[in-house]
């Protein structure tokens, strides 16, 4: 006999910490028949707000869209602004921006691993994830003053230079993470009970993933290996070839593995890039009252939750700029509704968390 459950946004965000979204479930004896996700509860209308704001302040607003990866939004918007202003950014600033991207990816994925461990019942392991994440918070605090990384990217470059001390702390944090990851794999991913629970859970086929324009780690978990986009660098084509078979099934197990492998890859790439930081200025200062030239610019970057597309338009004779986003989580939510069909209610939190959506402003 079918039954109907309705979770209000507060309850879901309290238990999963993903942002406010509503969940409506038809289930039959604990098996999900249909699920519906409603979003827009925290809608701020960022696109409208940005129309008249000064450029540097716009970056502060877009960073709120995904508090776990604010650099992706601020960098995308900065690149569009810089194109319309005709502003050339130094090679050093670009390299530091990429390093910040790697740090934030590791930090965001550690938050993801924390949630998975907590929902999977491994409370002690979850705490260890937070301990590792704190090292990356320290790094961001050192770079920009904000532990969450707000303000690290600014129009024209980055907030402060990557000093030798910062790079040393980065190396230490990554060394520690390298030791921790095998522990996580052994304690959770290779733990037979947990592995059997997440295998085959919330399956998304490669075909469905392509249809819904899924991107990032969720797409990679279906066996498709897109080239990550980040300043012309191949951002994520670094996943260990020998372990690729772990992430071809499109289920929750593959999605968790995809994040672990992305962290491993990010460590290797960041280590190489830190050794080759070019010399030069880290920022070209832009005045608060700087104006954009007339034109259209767009930028797509890969973040921890998939690709983010940002476009900025400034029309002739108009004092306002028009900013528009397409967030990777928007595609994820569409797939999520299908992937939850047929699973047991007890597995629902784990399935949702395995997709790692960021709900804020997906209804833009």
């Amino acid at each position: 006999m079918g039954q109907f459950l309705k979770y209000d946004p507060i309850e879901i965000s309290h238990s999963l910490g993903l942002g406010p979204f509503g969940l409506e479930i038809d289930h039959d004896s604990g098996v999900v028949l249909r699920s519906g996700i409603s979003v827009g509860f925290g809608h701020k209308g960022v696109g409208k707000i940005l129309q008249t704001l000064p450029l540097p302040i716009c970056l502060s607003y877009v960073e709120q869209i995904d508090h776990q990866a604010p650099n992706v939004y601020s960098l995308g918007l900065s690149i569009c602004f810089e194109e319309l202003m005709g502003l050339e950014v130094s090679e050093r600033a670009k390299a530091i921006r990429v390093l910040v991207g790697r740090v934030m990816l590791m930090r965001s994925h550690l938050g993801y691993l924390y949630r998975i461990a907590r929902i999977g019942g491994q409370a002690a392991l979850a705490q260890h994830c937070l301990r590792e994440r704190e090292r990356f918070h320290d790094l961001m605090e050192m770079l920009c003053g904000s532990r969450a990384g707000f303000g690290a990217i600014c129009v024209g470059g980055v907030f402060s230079d990557a000093t030798d001390g910062w790079l040393f702390k980065l190396e230490k944090a990554m060394n520690s993470l390298e030791v921790f990851l095998p522990e996580y794999i052994e304690s959770l991913l290779e733990q037979p009970i947990f592995a059997s629970r997440v295998r085959g859970l919330g399956v998304v086929s490669a075909d469905v993933a392509r249809k819904h324009e899924l991107s990032g780690a969720n797409l990679r978990a279906t066996g498709i290996d897109p080239n990550g986009i980040y300043y012309g660098l191949v951002f994520t084509n670094f996943i260990n070839r020998n372990r690729r078979q772990m992430i071809t099934f499109g289920d929750a197990y593959s999605r968790i593995w995809a994040r672990v492998l992305e962290i491993e890859g990010a460590i290797g790439a960041a280590r190489a890039e830190a050794l080759q930081l070019p010399a030069g200025n880290f920022c070209t200062k832009v005045a608060l009252g700087a104006q954009l030239g007339v034109g259209h610019a767009a930028c797509e970057l890969e973040g921890p939750r998939g690709n983010v597309f940002i476009s900025v338009d400034k029309e002739e004779g108009s004092g306002e700029k028009s900013v528009s986003f397409f967030n990777g989580s928007r595609a994820t939510l569409s797939v999520l509704q299908r992937a939850t069909v047929g699973i047991e209610l007890d597995d629902l939190p784990l399935t949702i968390a395995s997709f790692d959506p960021a709900i804020s402003e997906v209804d833009l």
């Binding site: 039959d28 098996v31 028949l33 249909r34 696109g47 569009c80 194109e83 085959g200 399956v203 469905v208 392509r210 249809k211 819904h212 324009e213 080239n227 986009i229 034109g295 259209h296 610019a297 767009a298 930028c299 797509e300 597309f309 476009s311 338009d313 108009s318 028009s322 528009s324 986003f325 397409f326 595609a331 569409s334 299908r338 069909v341 047929g342 699973i343």
Partner: protein
């Protein structure tokens, strides 16, 4: 520098960009041409469809409804923005490209397959209704 892309291949007709910049080419079209391009996309196979990037619907200072669709013919780097302005209160086109490109039939088939895969081993007969 714009890539050399044949807009006839991309949109079913040759259009001159209204604006051509470093990352975006903007095509300003009439609602009729916009609908024509949408129909062209509807007939394309998945492999030939331009990659959908974003859509925005807003009103301009004259009260007209401004629809913009961003697509990419090559995936990375350069995007094409197709823009059309509609009179207030007019019916907007049903853009088939717009994500997610699915029909109800596909949805149902997917649910049924997923459910059967999941429960066939456990001997539970269950079909989504």
């Amino acid at each position: 520098m714009s890539p050399a892309v044949d807009t006839k291949e991309l949109m079913g007709r040759t259009i001159t960009p209204f604006y051509s910049g470093g990352s975006v080419d903007l095509y300003l079209v009439t609602p009729e041409i916009f609908s024509e391009i949408c129909s062209y996309w509807e007939d394309l196979s998945r492999d030939r469809l331009p990659i959908f990037k974003n859509i925005s619907i807003s009103t301009n200072s004259n009260g007209q409804i401004c629809v913009k669709v961003w697509v990419s013919p090559i995936g990375i780097g350069h995007v094409f923005c197709l823009k059309a302005e509609y009179p207030p209160q007019s019916k907007l086109p049903d853009v088939p490209l717009i994500w997610p490109k699915l029909t109800m039939i596909e949805e149902r088939e997917y649910f049924e397959t997923q459910a059967q895969d999941r429960f066939s081993k456990g001997g539970v007969a269950w079909v989504n209704s």
